[in-house]
Subunit: 330 residues, 2 copies
């Protein structure tokens, strides 16, 4: 329990418990899935946290609702590739406040439409040439709105950390010891929160960040000890994981608590999406499937081990999903 | 509570409670999903029981495991279009007994492969020209195996009825009154069990059988009062729901307890599958989506009402699912 007292970290287990209390009865306690077939493929045991079944189709609602509940703003602005956008939009609607979101013009259609359907004003920008953070800050000032950042904020990390809290609680309920946990990583908010919860509740669990090969800034940053940046022309269909570099606060947590960083190819991600379709009956978006891809591709030892995997979201366009299914090579 | 004493029916609530006890810790207590977007589409509230997340990808594991647990056979045989096949195969494997399954040669590939992967011997037959019941009975005699029928048996109905039991219990936990429940119907085992549970636990809930238009034997049987038969050349992609006529025992229950029968077109089913993909992130097979299709197509009044819908399975080939997604007309 020494961990509770790490004053050098921006969040602790109590922040996650406070977030869980705010989310109680509002967020879905998503199921922890298991499949005989996937277990057979890895020669071990996979427990999969199904965040595509969360409200708005990804874990992002947790952090957004936690932040908005705690900060009590009168209007909010956010910039997001789409999942944070929908999370903030729903949280704002539930709180009865207005909401504007800055989104890339090439975001998946389902994310753009989903955000608008939740009542948010959507402002699009060019991902290659414009700075979303600057646009978001400007918009916030103009509208006298509070900016809800996508990951680099204690309340966001704590909200996302309820994924790890539920994971550890359900594993305990099933009397299962988790050897490792694989969590996707864009800006690092989800994994920072999960690692904080797991460090307290299952301190023997090795937590790994999983990223697309082309956007492996956290893996490189963990190796070098300082925040590294991705090339600006990153090509990956994992649209949810293309943050340019680790957050300042998230990296402070992740550097202290993670066992390492793993990277997977888009092809491995597509394989994982097909296997989730077939054996879990779950729609997982590319960015949501990287952790499963890492387990299936053998990036860590899986034989006779029990591995928790966070499937972080399921907001993928029907056309892309159909293409991926049709490209099945098995 | 008068219902408890209906001695004219082949199963009662106590049979379902006994099944729930046998399934405890073995079957998944599947989540009851809800979506803001789907609620908006019907102007009411939908609560969706997600049986694609059940072991083997459909509710069929419940009845199979219940029957095999209670009968304690040394070997089993079954005939099935694929979901009962996988349910029986897994239940047999968990009990350590051998298993042979008679399946249509044109069953979905995922169901044929899934059944074989669970260790069952698969014998295929021609759906148009051969009688699966006769083949199953012959095989059972040759192997000295017990035949596990797909629906027309009290233990099968009771096992499937645990879907209704969980549904009613979760609705009570959320303090929700169910105005209606829509349940798919092939041979009628699932809905007979669900109606039995709901009649006791939420007696005000109107339970409707939903079938493909081309295979609406139960709807016609409920209207005429006797067991009607479908044409032998039925064309529908709802492969799981093509039983030729209601079962004798299932129809005895269904005639007594159901509010009526509804029918939907394959096109309406495809629309429902796309909406489940988009808003629930769930893979639902055609036969598993008929009840959702009936709600979305307005077959019953949904405005300001709360409707439970059973999504019964998710075993659909990737190729067909991709075609259905690609055909999106929205």
């Amino acid at each position: 329990m020494a961990f509770r007292h790490r004053a050098d970290l921006p969040i602790g287990p109590d922040d996650i418990r406070a977030a869980a209390a705010r989310l109680h009865g509002v967020a879905v306690v998503t199921p922890l899935l298991e499949s005989e077939a996937l277990n057979g493929l890895i020669g071990g045991r996979l427990l999969l946290k199904a965040e595509p079944l969360q409200r708005t189709g990804s874990f992002k609602f947790r952090g957004a609702f936690n932040a908005i509940s705690a900060l009590r703003p009168t209007a909010v602005v956010a910039y997001s590739s789409g999942n944070h956008a929908q999370g903030v939009a729903l949280a704002a609607r539930l709180k009865g406040i207005s909401c504007a979101i800055v989104m890339p013009a090439d975001a998946p259609r389902t994310k753009l439409e989903g955000t608008r359907a939740l009542g948010a004003e959507v402002v699009t920008y060019d991902r290659a040439r414009e700075d979303r953070a600057a646009i978001g800050a400007e918009l916030a000032e103009r509208l006298s709105a509070t900016l809800i950042p996508p990951y680099d904020h204690p309340l966001i990390m704590a909200g996302q950390g309820t994924v790890g809290l539920e994971l550890a609680e359900e594993a305990a309920r099933r009397d299962v010891r988790l050897d490792a946990a694989l969590v996707c990583c864009g800006g690092g908010g989800l994994i920072a929160g999960c690692a904080t919860a797991l460090a307290e509740l299952t301190p023997g669990t090795a937590v790994y960040a999983v990223e697309p090969e082309a956007s492996d800034d956290t893996a490189r940053s963990l190796a070098s000890g300082r925040r590294e940046t991705n090339a600006s022309d990153v090509k990956s269909f994992c649209d949810a994981l293309l943050a340019p570099s680790p957050g300042e606060l998230t990296f402070t947590v992740n550097r202290a608590l993670l066992a390492g960083g793993l990277a997977v190819s888009d092809r491995e991600v597509a394989d994982a999406m097909r296997l989730a379709f077939r054996h879990l009956k779950l729609v997982v978006e590319p960015g949501g499937a990287v952790a499963l891809a890492a387990a299936l591709a053998g990036r860590i030892e899986t034989k006779d081990r029990t591995i928790a995997v966070v499937l972080s979201g399921g907001n993928v366009d029907a056309g892309l999903f159909a293409e991926i299914l049709a490209a099945d090579r098995s």
